[in-house]
């Protein structure tokens, strides 16, 4: 079984994010980069499936050159090899462009199943898994927190609110986006870390994937125009006086200042 895992390198959750001076992105100077935490569940799901069914786990990541570090983390955990899309032509892709690139890799590699995080924790788009499934014309299940497979059928559970779980049976090949609770990602063991560097890493250009003009900033249908910090929340105001007066004042403020009534 050929198991594909998509992962993205994102700023560490502990990093204090600041927009760059010109608003074009974030200040990346002292940012520490990590594998997006939901993607770690995807890596673990891929490794567990390999342990059960055999085959290989291939991690795929699109991003700048440093994205190789994120892929190495997965290789150290036990993935077999990596595909890195760090060509200039991929940079600035929107979710559609990213999905085209990843779907093309899936076809080229002949994946039988794909795991990815439910969303990357940097921009939280929650788009790529679904678009990739659409492009491949595969079924998908998102926010999976339980996964079992038997032959060509997978049975997954996904939280649907109100403490309830939806049980979905999916025919493979399919895309699964993973959420917390699915598994406990393993640590990269020291022998795994030592081996990571010698594992194969392939690189494709947009031309290799026959995607010229369909990926990268120029092909993006969604463009990020600027980054700004959210406005600081003003501190709360306490109303004083008789309860009746307070209620009147509250209604007046909600109407005239907050303009929500």
């Amino acid at each position: 079984m050929k198991i594909g895992v998509f992962l993205k390198q994102v700023p560490d959750t502990e990093t204090k994010i600041r927009p760059a001076g010109d608003g074009s992105g974030i200040e990346s100077g002292d940012v520490k980069w990590i594998v997006s935490p939901y993607d770690e569940f995807a890596v673990e799901a891929g490794l567990q499936l390999k342990e059960k069914s055999g085959g290989e786990v291939v991690v795929v990541s699109l991003g700048p050159a440093r994205t190789l570090d994120a892929a190495r983390t997965a290789l150290a955990m036990g993935a077999d090899r990596a595909v890195i899309l760090d060509d200039e032509g991929f940079q600035g892709s929107d979710p559609l462009g990213t999905s085209r690139a990843l779907a093309a890799v899936a076809r080229k590699e002949g994946f039988d199943i794909i795991f990815c995080g439910r969303q990357a924790i940097d921009e939280d788009n929650n788009q790529v898994p679904q678009i990739v499934a659409g492009l491949l014309d595969w079924p998908h299940a998102s926010w999976v927190n339980s996964f079992e497979s038997e032959g060509e059928m997978a049975t997954v559970k996904r939280p649907i609110g109100g403490g309830k779980l939806e049980v979905v049976k999916v025919r493979l090949p399919a895309v699964f986006s993973c959420t917390k609770g699915l598994n406990e990602p393993r640590y990269a063991s020291l022998p795994g870390i030592m081996k990571a560097k010698s594992k194969p890493v392939a690189r494709y250009t947009p031309a290799d994937l026959e995607l010229d003009g369909q990926v990268g900033a120029s092909a993006a249908v969604v463009q990020l125009t600027s980054y700004q910090m959210p406005q600081a929340r003003p501190s709360g105001r306490m109303l004083e006086g008789e309860v009746g007066d307070q209620v009147k004042e509250l209604v007046r403020l909600l109407r005239q200042e907050a303009k929500v009534l």
Binding site: D69, Y187, L190, M194, K197
Partner: protein
């Protein structure tokens, strides 16, 4: 060449493997150790299974040879492990584990026989056997050359009599790397032996109530005509003082590294607290007196780290390192006292409450200028090395 005249270098050069290992170490400490720290502190102990868990992860054998189950890695992996280990916020636990990996066992790897390594080192690396280092005695601390526990040769055995105290892991150890007197008075009559604690005549006297490091067991040990085979002699008879002094280098480096990492963690805690806590209408970090104080400490911590890394570099390259290690231990451990004092003051009333980590750190860090060679002994070593 001594430390002061050696060409300066700026290690470490962290490799990708180091960086990946740091993540594994941090994840492990945050997921599996830190959540248990409160319980360990309250119960004054932790399960022996933790040695096996750390052994399974490879943390007890980072620098130990691969033939005996270690990983044979460079010393910077140990540096990273110690820097992340402090995040358990259980100094006693950390001490127990570092005694196992870096204080009681490196000497076995260095000078032990094949048989000794199989019997003691290999199971210490997996955590199946717990190790202690037995040097201090009720009447002999810093003055190691004067230790009084005796090992008298009797045929193919040695018979051991005496007492040890302040022994970390003492009540649970399966074996002790033990300093004994086999010869005349003074440093020339000391030997190191491997002592299995199931030997008849051995007893654990009492657990000592310490000021801090509550999760580790510290014991008094008694040896009453304990007979052990001569094959448990480590290295050559009467060369023990030399081995002990060598072995202390690793122990002192661990102390300096833990001091630096512990201070940095406290400093980071202070930043978080100082941004949140307000007094007189503004975050307390906005008061110049505290900003300046904290920046002074940050600068000193960085200096201590660089000195310690310098010592690590010499140690890793097996160059003369006694002066640099003594300086690092002296400086970092002394600085930790000042840093924890000021940061506890910065936390005000909350700094005196157990719920805040700084309260525990204040007790735990106090050990640093006392254990593993006092600050005064460090000064003596440095002075002697300089011909004073």
């Amino acid at each position: 060449m001594d430390a002061a005249t050696k060409t300066a270098s700026l290690p470490p050069e962290w490799t990708d493997e180091h960086t990946m290992f740091r993540k594994t170490a941090r994840d492990f400490v945050e997921k599996e150790l830190a959540p248990q720290a409160e319980e360990w502190e309250a119960n004054k102990g932790f399960s022996n299974d933790m040695f096996k868990r750390l052994g399974e992860m490879g943390f007890l054998g980072l620098g130990h040879p691969e033939e005996y189950g270690g990983l044979g890695l460079d010393y910077w992996f140990t540096v990273i492990w110690l820097e992340e280990l402090v995040r358990s916020r259980s100094a006693g636990f950390n001490m127990a584990m570092t005694v196992q990996s870096d204080m009681a066992t490196p000497v076995i790897a260095d000078i032990g026989t094949e048989e000794q390594k199989q019997e003691f080192l290999a199971p210490a690396i997996t955590g199946e056997k717990i190790a202690a280092l037995g040097i201090s005695e009720p009447a002999v601390g810093s003055d190691v050359a004067n230790l009084q526990t005796t090992a008298r040769r009797d045929g193919d055995d040695y018979i051991i009599n005496g007492a040890k105290t302040f022994i970390t892991n003492g009540s649970r150890a399966d074996f002790i790397t033990l300093g004994v007197r086999t010869g005349d008075a003074g440093f020339g009559g000391i030997s190191l032996m491997l002592f299995p604690t199931d030997t008849k005549g051995f007893s654990v006297g009492r657990l000592l109530e310490k000021v801090g490091n509550h999760s580790s067991d510290t014991a008094e040990l008694a040896f009453d005509n304990c007979r052990i085979p001569a094959r448990y002699m480590l290295g050559q008879e009467n060369m023990g003082f030399y081995y002990i002094m060598q072995n202390f280098q690793g122990e002192r480096l661990v102390a300096a590294l833990m001091a630096v990492a512990g201070m940095q963690m406290l400093w980071d805690d202070a930043m978080d607290y100082g941004n949140e806590r307000e007094a007189f209408g503004r975050p307390i970090l906005k008061f110049q007196v505290w900003r300046h104080k904290l920046v002074e400490h940050l600068t000193a911590i960085e200096a201590a780290r660089r000195l310690t890394y310098y010592a690590c570099d010499l140690f890793e390259r097996e160059e003369p390192c006694v002066e640099a290690i003594s300086m690092a231990k002296l400086y970092a451990c002394d600085l930790a006292q000042k840093v924890v004092y000021d940061i506890q003051q910065f936390f005000g009333g909350y700094g005196y409450i157990e719920e805040y980590h700084v309260a525990r750190a204040f007790r735990d860090l106090r050990l640093l200028t006392i254990g593993g060679g006092t600050a005064e002994i460090m000064k003596e070593i440095i002075g002697k090395g300089r011909g004073m």
